[in-house]
Subunit: 400 residues, 4 copies
Amino acid sequence: MSTATFNSICFNQGYWRKGEVKISKVKNRNQRVKFYVGGASVLSTKCMQSSEKNKREVRIGLLGASGYTGAEIVRLLANHPYFGITLMTADRKAGQSMGSVFPHLITQDLPTMISVKDADFSSVDAVFCCLPHGTTQEIIKGLPRHLKIVDLSADFRLRDIAEYEEWYGQPHSASELQKEAVYGLTEISREDVKNAHLVANPGCYPTSIQLPLVPLIKAKLIEHRNIIIDSKSGVSGAGRGAKEANLYSEIAEGIYSYGVTKHRHVPEIEQGLSDAAQSKVTVSFTPHLMPMIRGMQSTIYVEMSQGVTIEDLYQQLRKSYEDEEFVKLIDKGVVPRTHNVRGSNYCFMNVFPDRIPGRAIIISVIDNLVKGASGQALQNLNIMLGYPENTGLLYQPLFP
Amino acid sequence: MSTATFNSICFNQGYWRKGEVKISKVKNRNQRVKFYVGGASVLSTKCMQSSEKNKREVRIGLLGASGYTGAEIVRLLANHPYFGITLMTADRKAGQSMGSVFPHLITQDLPTMISVKDADFSSVDAVFCCLPHGTTQEIIKGLPRHLKIVDLSADFRLRDIAEYEEWYGQPHSASELQKEAVYGLTEISREDVKNAHLVANPGCYPTSIQLPLVPLIKAKLIEHRNIIIDSKSGVSGAGRGAKEANLYSEIAEGIYSYGVTKHRHVPEIEQGLSDAAQSKVTVSFTPHLMPMIRGMQSTIYVEMSQGVTIEDLYQQLRKSYEDEEFVKLIDKGVVPRTHNVRGSNYCFMNVFPDRIPGRAIIISVIDNLVKGASGQALQNLNIMLGYPENTGLLYQPLFP
Amino acid sequence: MSTATFNSICFNQGYWRKGEVKISKVKNRNQRVKFYVGGASVLSTKCMQSSEKNKREVRIGLLGASGYTGAEIVRLLANHPYFGITLMTADRKAGQSMGSVFPHLITQDLPTMISVKDADFSSVDAVFCCLPHGTTQEIIKGLPRHLKIVDLSADFRLRDIAEYEEWYGQPHSASELQKEAVYGLTEISREDVKNAHLVANPGCYPTSIQLPLVPLIKAKLIEHRNIIIDSKSGVSGAGRGAKEANLYSEIAEGIYSYGVTKHRHVPEIEQGLSDAAQSKVTVSFTPHLMPMIRGMQSTIYVEMSQGVTIEDLYQQLRKSYEDEEFVKLIDKGVVPRTHNVRGSNYCFMNVFPDRIPGRAIIISVIDNLVKGASGQALQNLNIMLGYPENTGLLYQPLFP
Amino acid sequence: MSTATFNSICFNQGYWRKGEVKISKVKNRNQRVKFYVGGASVLSTKCMQSSEKNKREVRIGLLGASGYTGAEIVRLLANHPYFGITLMTADRKAGQSMGSVFPHLITQDLPTMISVKDADFSSVDAVFCCLPHGTTQEIIKGLPRHLKIVDLSADFRLRDIAEYEEWYGQPHSASELQKEAVYGLTEISREDVKNAHLVANPGCYPTSIQLPLVPLIKAKLIEHRNIIIDSKSGVSGAGRGAKEANLYSEIAEGIYSYGVTKHRHVPEIEQGLSDAAQSKVTVSFTPHLMPMIRGMQSTIYVEMSQGVTIEDLYQQLRKSYEDEEFVKLIDKGVVPRTHNVRGSNYCFMNVFPDRIPGRAIIISVIDNLVKGASGQALQNLNIMLGYPENTGLLYQPLFP
């Protein structure tokens, strides 16, 4: 093909770094010739070659790349114009390529995964940490101070380390670091995230619950008592670990309420709502595992404050989120569906009158791996580094 | 139960012992030779030949055979020793065989489906009516008085016909008949079912909700206010009608809360609970459509009465259901799962402490097509005709 | 409940005659009172009480009860009038109840699972062996000679133990026993099964493939060359072992061709077809994992022998199976679907003309856990012990 | 490609540098304030405002927007820097917004859908035609000649209009137009597509089949006889029409071989292969409906030409596709999975030795709605209009 240029061009507008249009012909690792043009829009180009990646402004380290949230970071960054992954760790998969662990990513030219102990952090500017809770603390404690860090584990989400110990069964070993961590529910804590060194990325359930409830509680429109939260989640939230309980034959065609009232996201939810209420809030929270891969819905049953109407709730949420890119209060009467946000960073929500006078039903939906994990993490890092927060995140939902 | 009940085991009289195998050779309708062996269990023999069927004690008419609940009646009756289907109607499929409409039933030798207007009801003893609401009334009104009838539609469930009109948008045209209909939530109304001429078979949601709540309300263990019911149902409950909303591509891999607070099962649920409470109960009820074919779970959030404990609820349910074949309070702490009742007539339930003091969470699961429809219908007809109520119903759940 | 008699009726041993209704009151293990009434149909009764079980004619041992095929044996036997399970082993679950491992079976009163080394085989008459290949040989070698054995593993399926070693990577350690094992493809080997001491129960793929092909090959209607078999299986065939590859998130919404041409069922398929052909047959066999729990379809592409027509194939299959309970050649032009046999012991098949002249397409479907495993095993044991082969097996398919 | 191509990034002129963020405040149709930040990547900005859209270089008309392929075009174009949708038709949904028909697209600011008869085509530069076959011909015949057209229906795929009539049951009414239509299997016909006025976008099955087979046939590496194609497709290929057969309860947990040897894609497949072979090729083609929304796999069984090896096939495919963006021959021995291309425009393929000497098995996978429909359509229009063909198409697959 003589016009190979058409095949994988990375155009730019006139000048991206003014006057610096670079057209380069490089060989990728597999020794096939590819053409690259310096440029800005990744979706229309092939920008993942390592040579290219190093030229991206921000060098990203991805710790714990072999899990679902790690793979999702890679998917999202594939079209990010400024962030390039230059370091990937996965202890049990050290030495392997990402494409061998996640074949859907074979077109991405990524660094080989290495053990975290072998990582050279001097060559990266920021990290996403997708490690399991517990080990995360130790590793983050050891990272150089110049790094911007978004941690997707639960390790830095709870301000009260006694509570951490209670729910996670081990003392917290990085309590100093905990103090400077910013809880990154972006739309609520955007200003704090901007200046954060370490962001504790929220859990998926807490994200779906706090986004609608925090503004309503702050505005004193709902009672703090008897908040009943019935959440439903896709199975990908349980990760890629091989567990009998998560086998296809055990999950498909049925539902399962696990951790009734005892799920580890409870203290995180209550912390956020209590902050909004400026008093201790105790919620009823029952998570249900759904026979679906992605998606999360929280159906929340609340008592409205004296004299408050559904319209008041609706207007408050409208006001809170009308300028937001990713949080959408949808048309009155329309029910948010997980289908409608699959694969995207959106949270859709709505509020409905209950049959019981004085009560309301709130429904919010997210993709647990995007707004509930990797998408919000990227949203946070964009902010921490001064980029528009939607950079690389405007994927539309995949439906059907 | 008269001794007559025991008379005609499907094939042979006498008794059967090893070594005494009796083999008989008969021709079925298709003129193929079949062998039958004397034996005791229907599951071990072929009893559906028409010659055979006519010998079953009770001749069953199945109205509206071409829907899912109709097919489920056929599946269950395949191994019923006393009931044989001798009449099947399906207006839009008149002239067709059941096997052409439901190929999984081709091994059953059933009468050809006819239009209900062509049916000769003098030749049947009892009918299952699986017609849509609205048309049901007219047809049942016209049936001979000697028939025992179990109606699976909503037409006779609501005692208050004004309420029927409000929720179903049309006046009730058989109000006299409504008065003698017995609401057939078997475990609750068994004595009334015994003598009923017409049983209104409960809806699936109301079955899953009333079974746990009625005994607790009767025993005054829970408050009548603020009962929050978050129900989840498989899609088969929506029937076989071709609707865009129920296409695989629209349902799979997502969830959908439909009819928030406005589902037609609301008045039925409130009728049952109000009866138990002897005062008007208004509930919050939100049904959710799950990406699964069968199965229903109700997660119910209640306030316990002053001084009542979870243990009190547990013991009350234990006492209420310990002698029941189909309703099972499971071991403390174990979560009922829809997987565990699929294809069976069981209802599994349990009760859990909530994080909010004084509150409890109740979970009940059924198969919406069995205990939630055709299974309970058969359970009722067994009782109406003096047979053990579990006759033909001891299918164990299909898992995985 | 005064009418408890209706609730849980169970017939009794000996024989039953008109007017001789016996009501007995027994206590089950949990010390709850249960009533039993003499009766005839197992499906209408509660027969799993241990006291009752011991009275069943045949005492069954179930080895490897904690896997899917073990659970399926229990489900099927729940309504078997002559077979009662009196021994269950599961090494890793020793000391646990079946209900704790498979909660869908909690209504069955079964013996506690023990380690196979602690089993007393003198108290059982027959065993189903659901152990993994390899260990099976050793254990079966050590069983008393009086036992009838149906082995669901692959250990005794291949007559050529060199071939066993080649495909399973270890030498066969019970070659003498192998010689007396009968390959239990029931409809093909019924006469041999009758007198067998040890039946090697066929694999699921081989069952779905040999049932249509063996009669056609024997009748010399198809060529032995270029038999292309494209099989599709539900995931339950992979068992309950915790493997990343079988997680819901890895399986749902996609398909996977594993072991292309190298699946271990190849030698078993070729052995059966070669026997029929009386010469070595080599097939092309590609299994595909489907996003479904149960069900298996083999789409088989064959060349017809010179002068043979589709009608010839159809008539041969008709003739071969017209008297069979479980193998059904369906109406011309109708496509067999896995949906139509789910949960049942049926095999549906049909034959279609190909576009390429002289070729035919054969489609057969089974439930991999029933006719492909536990159902056929029960069919075989029924025959080995002189009972009608359909005893306890006439469950109709579960659809939808 | 003229340099003009590079000029107009979706929003701003000039250039953007870190530190020089320009924020502009505009009102969209709904009068809500939105913020835009100057930048380079479409994925990082909001470019769908109508004011914005009109500034995109190419004005796109989308005919038949209310089906799945229409919605998929919208999803893909959401991040296309040069194409903006300015006209949408959907006869039955005329007057509705896209967001009301496909709520996952509510964030896109799109024109209201109108009836095709009311469309003003003078204001668009190109159209995607997603109408049903049959009606498509008439409408395309009436379009102005200046338009570039990609037709996703079957109406212009078959060169032989007699064949069209045979398979589609109606005479072709635009035979002149048919003559100038270019069959748009991009990687095979790229040069013709460049100059095309009307592209007939290939069907999903033909795409998955021709991509691997055409190069092998052209290179004379495989025999033309006895090509056996066993294809598996997700249900979304059947569209959004309400059909009983496609209900969740009918599709989930089972598979279905429909149109055995008679599927309408057969003549299209044979046309493509015959062109490559330069002689008439007749194939065996059996499509199977899978319980999944998206994804398509073709498992293709072929005879290699005399003396040809698997390695020869592999090297030929490598050579054919090594410079392609979207067609990937994966590592030897690795099985392509539909999971790995979901939501993306990739085709993954591989070739395997068969057990039968001289035969090979080829597996190819695509997302039926992307490379099998809307993605390839966009790829074609990019080429027709002189843009890099991957523009707006580098979405990475969604997994899990």
